[in-house]
């Protein structure tokens, strides 16, 4: 797009955005906020790393939880089966004087089996609750992408108004080497912003 074509857009909104951008540039220059902008842009890769860390931590925690549940589930099933088997056999046998004790044991075994059933159900709930990992993980990934986008926008602004600064953060590896940073796109975007600004006499 050339500077000559830009006015033909004749779109009030585009012009408004252009003016706002130009004003922001002027204000930033006057206020000396370049450094702050650089700092903000520099915090973005860090924010991404932290979110990725959270995602990884969630993943490990769910995997550990599921492993623990998987290990515990067969135990509850086996305990239930053992209780039923023992109580059935005890109930069928005549222990003479000890009959009262046996009947109490049978009754207690029934209670243990019922408790094991409750434990089993709770283990299932713990397993089902790990589904949060899926949806929460997708949300974290979206925020990571958003952070990368904000970083690109900030970098564009920085490039635009401090292009000759040799110690600018724009030139440092850490920022331009980010996974979502597209140098080509940024340059295209820059041209377009320049065209628009030129059309507004800036």
């Amino acid at each position: 797009m050339s500077a000559q074509q830009a006015p033909e857009l004749n779109n009030a909104k585009v012009e408004q955005i252009g003016r706002a951008t130009a004003r922001m540039h002027r204000l930033l220059k006057e206020l000396g906020h370049k450094h702050q902008l650089e700092q903000t842009a520099a915090t973005m890769p860090d924010a991404r790393d932290r979110l990725s860390f959270i995602d990884q931590a969630m993943h490990e925690a769910s995997e550990k939880t599921i492993s623990a549940v998987e290990n515990a589930m067969p135990l509850t099933s086996r305990n239930r089966a053992t209780c039923s088997d023992l109580s059935a056999r005890l109930a069928e046998t005549d222990f003479g004087d000890q009959q009262a004790l046996i009947m109490e044991t049978v009754s207690r075994l029934g209670e243990i089996a019922a408790a094991e059933e409750v434990i089993h159900q709770n283990l299932m709930h713990i397993m089902e609750a790990q589904e949060f990992r899926d949806v929460a993980g997708q949300m974290v990934n979206k925020i990571v992408s958003a952070a990368a986008e904000i970083e690109n926008i900030l970098l564009d602004i920085l490039k635009e108004y401090a292009p000759k600064n040799s110690d600018s953060l724009i030139r440092t590896e850490g920022l331009t080497a980010g996974p979502q940073t597209k140098r080509d796109n940024s340059v295209n975007g820059q041209d377009e912003v320049d065209d628009l600004l030129a059309s507004l006499g800036l």
Binding site: I66, M124, E128, D134
Partner: protein, 129 residues
Amino acid sequence: MADPNTKFLVVDDFSTMRRIVRNLLKELGFTNVQEAEDGVDALNKLRADKFDFVVSDWNMPNMTGIELLRAIRTDASLKHLPVLMVTAEAKKENIIEAAQAGASGYVVKPFTAATLDEKLKKIFLTMQK
């Protein structure tokens, strides 16, 4: 009652989710379960081996669940397979799209073993008719 040997293919890009679905199926008495990490992987497995049931996520890289469903429905040897969509996509348009593409059922995450049981039973009942 469904055959406990029913062979399931669980398709999800999240390994934790595949593990959960596998455990829920086990709780319901189904232990013959294989896993695939996306639609492409699933199609390869479905074509290489005989399966009885597909449980698939929607949002996956390479080939999404809805693309997998369409591929299954247009493949002469696979089109009769029941496909249960298990997904976080709760929008009406998604559900309608899945139904039109020939989904056998649709479960929205997060879900419980009870929900899965109910949907499976419903699908098995339809299959018997």
